[in-house]
Amino acid sequence: MSLKIVVLAKQVPDTRNVGPDAMTPEGTVNRSALPAIFNPEDLNALEQALRLKEQFPGSTITVLTMGLPKAADVLRDALYRGADDAVLLTDRALGGADTLATSYALSMAIRKIGIPDLIIGGRQAIDGDTAQVGPQVAQKLDLDQVTYVESIDSVCEDCRKITVTRRIDGGVEKVEAPLPCMLTITGSAPACRPQNAKRVMKFKKAAAPAENREGARWTITQWGAADIDADLAQCGLAGSPTKVKAVQNIVFKAKESKRLSADDAEIKQLMAELLASHTIG
C-alpha cells in the first residue's frame, strides 16, 4: 500500500525567542525582529508523514504552505528532510487572512492537488495559537478529523482505517478513523528528523518563481488564487470575519503571595478558591 499525504506547514515568527523589540508600539508583532521559522508542531506533523512513507514505500508527501514568497524557506526545509513535493500558495489576494480564509484557501489548494489519503498538520501555530486551521480545512473538505494526535499506531490497508493515539488531559486515548482524514499533531509527538545532506545539496537549488532566484534547478510549485479557483470573496481580508478591535499591553505589576500551613483544611480552601476563579480546572 502506498499513501498520498499532504502536510500543512506554516512559516511563523520565532515567538519562543522574544526580545525587547518583539512588539511594535502599536501592539502588533514586529515580524522583522523575529526570525522566521518552520512552525514547530508542523515539523512534528512532517515527521509522522515521513514515518508513514518509510513504512509504506511508494507513498508521497506534498508539503503545502500559504504565505509570502519567503515562506518557500519552510518548503525547502521540508524537502531537505524528506518531502517529495512542495506547493507555495502566494497571492496578494490571499493576504491578511484569518483562520477561516486561510483554511478556505488551503482546502481549495488541496482539492487541486487531489484529495489525499491523509492531511497532516501541526496542532497549532506558535504565532496565532488558535488550533483552528486544521479542523476548518477538514470541515471544508468534508473529511473526518482527529486532533491532538501524538502517534499513528497503524494503518489498515483493506479496511481503509487509521488508528492513532490522541493526547488528552490526564492521559491518552486510542482513536480509529476512516481514510481519508485530517490529523493534527501535538508537540509531544517525536521531533522531526534532521535535514539530509544529499537532499540539502540538491534542494538548496529549489525555488518558487516568485523568489526570483538565479540558478534555481528545481521548481517549487507556486499557485495564486486563480490557480485554485478560489472565490475572492472568501479569501484574504475580504474573507476574514475576524477583526482585531484593540490590543492591550499587559504588565504584571504586583506579585501576590500567600502563606499556607500544611493543614488539609487550608489546602482545601485554596483549591476551592482557585477553582472558583477558574485558575485551575
Binding site: A191, R193, P194, Q195, N196, A197, K198, R199, V200, M201, K202, K204, R217
Partner: protein, 573 residues
Amino acid sequence: MANCYSDRPELRFELNHPLMQRIVELKERNFRDKDQYDYAPETFEDAMDSYDRVLGIVGDITATTIAENAEGVDVEGPHHEGHRVRYASGTERNLEAMVKAGMNGMTMPRQYEGLNFPITPYTMCAEIVAHKDAGFGNIWSLQDCIETLYEFGSEDQHRRFIPRICQGETMSMDLTEPDAGSDLQSVQLRATYSEEQGCWLLNGVKRFITNGDADLHLVLARSEEGTKDGRGLSMFIYDKRDGGVDVRRIEHKLGIHGSPTCELTYKNARAELVGSTRMGLIKYVMALMNGARLGIAAQSVGISQACYDEALAYAQDREQFGKAIVQFPAVYDMLSLMKAKLDAGRALLYQTARYVDVYKALDDIERERKAAGEKLTAEERAEQKKYAKLADSLTPLAKGMNSEFCNQNAYDCIQIHGGSGFMMEYACQRYYRDARITSIYEGTTQLQVVAGIRYVTNGSYLAQCREMEAQPVSEAMKPLQERSAKMADMLEEATARAKEAGNQDYLDLCARHLYEMAAYSIMGHLLQYNATQQPELFEKSAHVFMNYADAEVRKHYHYIMHLTPADVEDYRK
C-alpha cells in the same frame, strides 16, 4: 537555536582557507559529476556552500540529539548481550540521527553513494560531534576506515562494501592484541587460506577493539606462517554477516563510556584479503593510522572546546568575594590559555587536514589515470610529494599536541570549577575522563614523538618555520613573527646539539623536547596567519599563545642545552 558549527566562527574561518580552492578542484575534477548526480556541485562556491550547510546539520544534531543524550550514554554505557554489543539507548538515537542525515561515507565518491567530501570538512564534523560526546565520536568517525579499503581494496570490494558504509553501517579496525599494543609487529591472529572454502579464515583473539561489534572490520592478521615480524602481516575485511567473530567482553573504562571497547574471538571467521599479502602493517595500517590520528586530533579539539565552554560559563556565573570569578587574573589566566591552546591546536589540525586532502586527492587522480594508462604530470607529482611530506610531518604533531592540550584543558576546566568540579554532577568530570584516552590510543604521545622526530632531525619542521617567517603578516603580528624566528633559531641550535653528540639514547631523551619546540613554533606561525586574516577572532589568542609558546620553547631549549650524553645514565632504569 544552539548549533555547534555556526556558534563557532573559528571553524568557518578554517573551512574558508584559500587552499580549499585547490582541494575542491582536485576533488571535483572540473565538476564532472554535476550532470549525473543532482547533489553534486556545479562550481567552487556551490561546493563550499554545501560543506557549510552540511556542517550546519551536524552542528544542529550535535547541539540537540547528541548533547541531550551525552550524560545518559556515559552512565548507561553499551551492553554485552550474548556475544554481541547493544549500544546505550542514547547512542542508538545519535546514530539514527546521523544516518538519517546521511552523514556516513562522507568522503567516498558519489558512484558508491558517498558525498565526495574532502577530509577537511569531514574532520570538522568529527570535531563537532566529539565536542558533545567523544565516545559517540569514535563510533561515528570509524567510518573513516573505509578510506583504507577505498585506497587499497579491489573494485569489486569497493562496489560491495562502500555503499553499505554510506548507508550507515559501522566499522572497526581490529589491530591490537593482548601482546601487541604499540608493537603491532607482534600480531598473532592467524589467517589461513582455505582452498576448500575459497576464502581466508581468521583464528585468534583481539583486544581493546573500539566498536568491536561493527558491521565491517578491517583486521590485521598473520598470513605468513612462521614469520615473526611486520612483513608477515596482511589486512583482511571481515563482514559480520558471515559470522565467526564473537565479543567475549566489553571493557570497563575510565572514559568514553559510549564507545564499546571489545575483546574479540575469531573462530574460523571468513574474511577477504585487502590488497596484497605482507603489506598489512607496513603499508595499509600505516595509512589507516594516519587517518585515525587525524580523527583523534579532531576529537581532542572537540573535547578542548567543550572544556573551554564549560569553564568560561562557570567562571562567568560563579561569584566569590562579591564578583564573578572570571574577573580574577588567576582565573582569566587559565581561561585565556585554554582558549589559546584550543585555537592553536585547531589551526594545526586543519592545516594538517588540508595537506592530507591535497595529496590524497592527487593519489586518487593517479589511480584513476593509471587505470586509463596515463600518469600524473611532473607538476602534479611534485605537488603530491610535497603535500604528502607536509601531511606526514604534521600528523604526529596534530595528534600529539592536541591530545595533550585537551588533557590540560580538562584539568583546568575542573580547576576553574573548584570543589564543584570534583563532584560528579558537573559535565567537566566527564570531559576529564574522556580526554585521558586521547593521548594514549592510536599511538601514545611518546609514539607521536617517535614519528615526528625524523622531521626535526631532517630539518623539515624548521624549513616550514623559515618559510612562514617570510610570509607577510599584519603590523600587529610582526613582533610575534620576530619572536617566532628566535624560537626557530633555538630549535635549530638544540637540534644540532642533540644530533652532534652521535648518541641515539641521548637524542631519544631530547626527542620530546625537540618535538614540542617544533610544534610550538609552527602553531605560533599558524595563529599569526589566522590573526592577520581575522584579528577579531584570533589576535588575543595569538598573543596569549606566543607568550606561552615562547616560554615553553625556551624551557626545552634550556633543558637540552644543559643535558649531556653523560646525563643519560641518571635517567636510565
